[in-house]
Amino acid sequence: MSRREAVRDLVVEYGALIDADRLEDWVELFASDCRYSVISAENLAQDLPQTLMACDSKDMLRDRVTAYREVNEYNFHSDRHVIGGVRFRDESTGGPWRIEANYSLFQTDVEGVTRLFLVGQYDMSVVFEDERPRFADVRVVVDTASIPTLLATPI
C-alpha cells in the first residue's frame, strides 16, 4: 500500500471510529505528540484565535473523551460523518504531510430524527510513526459557526 493510500485510509478510519462511538480508539489515530482543535470559519476568516475545543496534547484529548464518557451531559445522538476526497497539499519527505478534506456531519436523535449538524473542512497534518500514518494536528474548521444545541462529541 502506498503512503497516499495509507493516509486516505486513516481519514476514513477517523470518521468511522467517531461514528461507531469508539472514541478511545479514535484517540490512538493521533501521534504521541499531537494537537486537536475546532474553530469556526468565522473566527478563522477574521484571524481570531478563539476555538470551540482545543487540545494541545494527547493527554488533553484523552481528558476530553473521559469527560464525555463520565461527566458531561448532552443530547443523546448518533453521528454519521460524510468525508469527501482527501486533497494532498504537501507531501514532505521527512516532515509532516498536510492534507485537507471536506466533511458533513449528520446527527440522529433517539426518536430517529436526523438533522444536518455541521459542515466544514479538516485541515490535517500527518506524520509517520513506524511507517504508520498518525495525526500530528487536526484542525476542524466549522462553517456552521452557530452550533446547533451543543457540541459534545469530537467532530
Binding site: Q50, V71, N72, E73
Partner: protein
C-alpha cells in the same frame, strides 16, 4: 389601536412572589410579540457589543436587540452610533455582513444610502429623470432608520429605543457599574466568538443564568474533578430592583471533607472521583483583587459578563422567534497579557461555549425544558429553592431566588404584575 397599557392577555399568577411561573409564558406568540415592544424596546439598556470590536473610525458590526437587527458603527469623529438595520424605503436589511469598515452603507435594493450615524443621506433619482418621476419633496432627515440612544461604560456598549430609559449608570447601578469596571477596566484584546443556537424560548436561558442551584448539579465536571462546588464561599447578589444578578464564588474556600459530606447521597454527582491528565486546564492565575474566581454578573434583559477562572467573555442572548435563541459569546483577554497568559486563557476556554466542559449541558437542559413544557397547558414551574416571598441576596448558592427577580421585573415591564407582586 389597542390601549397602550393593555398587554392583550392576562396572567393568572398562582402566587405573587413568582415562585410559580405558568409555562405558557414561554410558548405563546402573543407574549413574544409583546416582549419585543415592552422588554427589548422598553426602558432597558441592551448590550450592543464592545468598543474594542470597532476600534477605528468607520468600523462597524451588526447585532440584534431582541430579534431586531441593529448596526453599531463608529463615525469619523470616533463616536459610536446604533440604528435599526432596515432600509427606510422598503424594509430591506441594509448591512449584510457581520462586521467591516465603511464610509457609508448602501441598501442594494434601490441604493438608498446611509451615514455611519444612521442618517438617510442619499436617494437615487430623488429629483427624477429629465423632469419626470422622483420624490423631490421627500424629507430624508425625518425618514431615516430608527436610531438607538447609545451609551458605553468601560468600552461595553449599550443602546436603548426608549426615551424614558434612565441613564446607563443608574440602570446598572453601583452594582453593575462596579462589575463592568472590574472586568473591562483596562484595554482588552478580542479573541473571537462562540455561537450556539438553542431550540428553546430565550427566557429559559434568562432563568438558567440566574439559577445558581443548577450549576454544580448539572455541570458535574467541576464537582467530579473537585474544582468548584456549592460548598465554596460564594453567593448571589442583585441590584435594588432585582433585575440584574450575580453568581460569585471564591477559590479554595471549602474543605474536602465538608464538600464530600455535602455531595454524599446526591445521585449523579460524585466528588473528585476523576483526575485530569492535564491539570493545567484548570489552573487559576489570580488577577482580581477581590479574590473571586467565578463571577457572572447578568444584566436585564439578556447579557452577562463571565469570569470562569481566567476565561473572560460577554454573552448575549439573541431571541430567534419564540422557539429558539442564539447564545453569542465574545471572548477576550487583556491587551497587556503576555504570550503565556494568552495561551492559558485560550486553553482554559475549553470550559465555556457550546462545547464547554462546564456549559454544554445548558443547551440540552434548556431544550428539554422547552420541549416538555410546550404541551403543559395550565402547569407551572416551581421556583422556591432558597426561599419564597421577598426577593433578597443570599450568602450561598443553593438558590434560584434571582430567577424570581427576573420575573418580577419582566412582569412590571410587560404590565402583567399580580396584585401585591413582590419586587
Amino acid at each position: 389601536m389597542t390601549l397602550v397599557n393593555d398587554p392583550g392577555f392576562t396572567v393568572d399568577w398562582p402566587r405573587d412572589d413568582y415562585s410559580r411561573i405558568p409555562y405558557w409564558l414561554f410558548h405563546d406568540p402573543k407574549v413574544y410579540e409583546l416582549e419585543r415592544a415592552r422588554i427589548f424596546r422598553g426602558p432597558v439598556w441592551n448590550y450592543l457589543g464592545l468598543e474594542a470590536e470597532i476600534p477605528k473610525p468607520d468600523d462597524f458590526r451588526t447585532t440584534f436587540v431582541g430579534d431586531i437587527p441593529v448596526v453599531v458603527a463608529r463615525a469619523g469623529d470616533g463616536t459610536v452610533h446604533a440604528f435599526v438595520n432596515r432600509c427606510a424605503h422598503r424594509g430591506a436589511q441594509i448591512v449584510r455582513t457581520t462586521h467591516g469598515s465603511a464610509k457609508d452603507f448602501v441598501c442594494i435594493y434601490h441604493r438608498w444610502c446611509y451615514s455611519l450615524e444612521g442618517d438617510l443621506i442619499g436617494i437615487p433619482f430623488k429629483r427624477g429623470l429629465k423632469g419626470q418621476g422622483g420624490m423631490a419633496d421627500f424629507d430624508m432627515a425625518a425618514n431615516g432608520p430608527e436610531k438607538l440612544r447609545v451609551a458605553s461604560l468601560s468600552g461595553m456598549i449599550f443602546g436603548t429605543f426608549s426615551a424614558h430609559t434612565e441613564p446607563l449608570e443608574g440602570y446598572l447601578g453601583a452594582f453593575g457599574c462596579g462589575l463592568i469596571e472590574r472586568m473591562l477596566g483596562k484595554p482588552i484584546r478580542i479573541y473571537g466568538y462562540q455561537r450556539q443556537v438553542i431550540h428553546a424560548n430565550w427566557k429559559f436561558y434568562a432563568e438558567n443564568l440566574r439559577d445558581t442551584y443548577h450549576a454544580s448539579l448539572l455541570h458535574t465536571f467541576l464537582s467530579s474533578y473537585g474544582i468548584d462546588r456549592a460548598t465554596q464561599k460564594g453567593g448571589v447578589k442583585m441590584d435594588g430592583r432585582h433585575r440584574h444578578s450575580m453568581n460569585y464564588a471564591f477559590a479554595a474556600t471549602d474543605g474536602q471533607d465538608e464538600a464530600r459530606a455535602a455531595y454524599a447521597g446526591n445521585s449523579g454527582v460524585s466528588l473528585d472521583r476523576l483526575k485530569l491528565r492535564d491539570g493545567s486546564l484548570m489552573r487559576y492565575v489570580p488577577e482580581f483583587e477581590d479574590g473571586m474566581n467565578l463571577a457572572t454578573p447578568t444584566f436585564f434583559p439578556n447579557v452577562l459578563l463571565i469570569q470562569v477562572n481566567n476565561v473572560l467573555s460577554t454573552r448575549q442572548i439573541r431571541p430567534k422567534g419564540k422557539d429558539a435563541f442564539e447564545v453569542f459569546q465574545t471572548l477576550f483577554g487583556y491587551a497587556d497579557d503576555d504570550e503565556a497568559m494568552t495561551r492559558h486563557r485560550l486553553k482554559q476556554s475549553n470550559l465555556v461555549g457550546p462545547a464547554g466542559y462546564v456549559s454544554m449541558e445548558d443547551g440540552e437542559a434548556i431544550e428539554l425544558a422547552h420541549r416538555a413544557s410546550a404541551s403543559s397547558q395550565g402547569f407551572t414551574s416551581v421556583i422556591e429553592m432558597g426561599g419564597r416571598g421577598p426577593i433578597r441576596d443570599l450568602e450561598h448558592r443553593v438558590t434560584d431566588v434571582p430567577v424570581r427577580g427576573f420575573w418580577s421585573y419582566w412582569s412590571e415591564l410587560m404590565g402583567v404584575e399580580p396584585v401585591g407582586g413582590v419586587r
